[in-house]
């Protein structure tokens, strides 16, 4: 199984948000600061700064690919389209169901979609040794928590996690 295939298997196995509000496990790939509840996580994840950070992290990836592997980068949209179809039928449907059941704001599931799609993109371009952010974020999701904000001047600082 290739890197992307393995990643879909990992994504299918995630118990989304199952540990939110509980203690954060050791060994997460960021310096993390816990967030106490969904109320605060909602404000943070819907805010401009987290929007900026997650866009910036994606731009670091695409700028790297465009600069050093422009021909390969031209495949981005095709890879993204295929990934969106695969994710929609599995992990994203589970996240959407959870969000609906717990009456979460619409942008929460969009945050997850953005993060996981970009994790797939990082995996798809893994052989070009791209900068990694979203694959690390995926480890936070796999631990059952929700990465929802950033404290400090990115990329320095700490990840805020529910």
């Amino acid at each position: 199984m290739d890197t992307t295939g393995k990643l879909y298997t990992r994504l299918d196995a995630v118990f989304w948000f199952s540990q939110c509000g509980l203690a954060l496990p050791a060994g997460l790939p960021f310096d993390c600061e816990p967030v106490p509840d969904w109320s605060e996580a909602t404000v943070l994840s819907g805010g401009k700064y987290w929007d900026w950070v997650t866009m910036e992290a994606r731009n670091v990836l695409t700028t790297y690919l465009d600069r050093f592997f422009r021909d390969e980068y031209q495949k981005w949209n095709g890879i993204a389209e295929e990934a969106k179809e695969l994710l929609a039928g599995g992990p994203w449907a589970k996240v959407e169901a959870y969000a609906k059941e717990h009456e979460l704001e619409h942008f929460i599931s969009s945050c997850v979609r953005w993060d996981t799609l970009n994790a797939v993109m990082e995996a798809a371009y893994e052989r070009f040794n791209p900068p990694i952010f979203f694959l690390k974020l995926l480890e936070v999701y796999e631990s059952g928590h929700f990465p929802c904000g950033w404290e400090g001047k990115f990329p320095k600082g700490r990840l805020l996690v529910l």
Binding site: K48, W50, D51, D66, R67, R113
Partner: protein, 116 residues
């Protein structure tokens, strides 16, 4: 990639951030609408239809052409400006079919009509 401080620019009346109704504000507002289709949702914005993807240089140039006309320019003047931008892109080896290297962050305009 074209360095930010070397990109082709044009003068437009008004403040792009705080002057709703002015050409400068309208041009940026229109471009923001274009970029929003590629962005995720946030507290004040729905998820774009093309979220996760990136536009090509040609698609961006078309959006620029439209935004300048929305701001009150004639099609001929808008086309002239876009041609300048296109010429610079070609100088830097950026072809129309190339996907753009990054998406701009929202500029957070104040006032005006909501786009959604």
């Amino acid at each position: 990639m074209i360095p930010q401080n070397e990109g082709v620019a044009t003068k437009l009346v008004g403040d792009a951030f705080f002057d709703p109704g002015t050409p400068h504000y309208i041009a940026h507002d229109t471009m923001e609408g274009f970029w929003d289709t590629y962005r995720r949702a946030s507290g004040g914005r729905p998820e774009g239809m093309l979220f996760g993807k990136v536009p090509t240089n040609s698609q961006c140039n078309r959006a620029l052409y439209n935004s300048l006309q929305e701001a009150g320019w004639t099609p001929a003047d808008a086309l002239r400006a876009v041609r300048h931008a296109k010429a610079q892109q070609l100088e830097y080896g950026l072809r129309g079919w190339h996907e753009v290297p990054n998406l701009p962050n929202p500029i957070n305009q104040q006032g005006g009509q909501p786009r959604w």
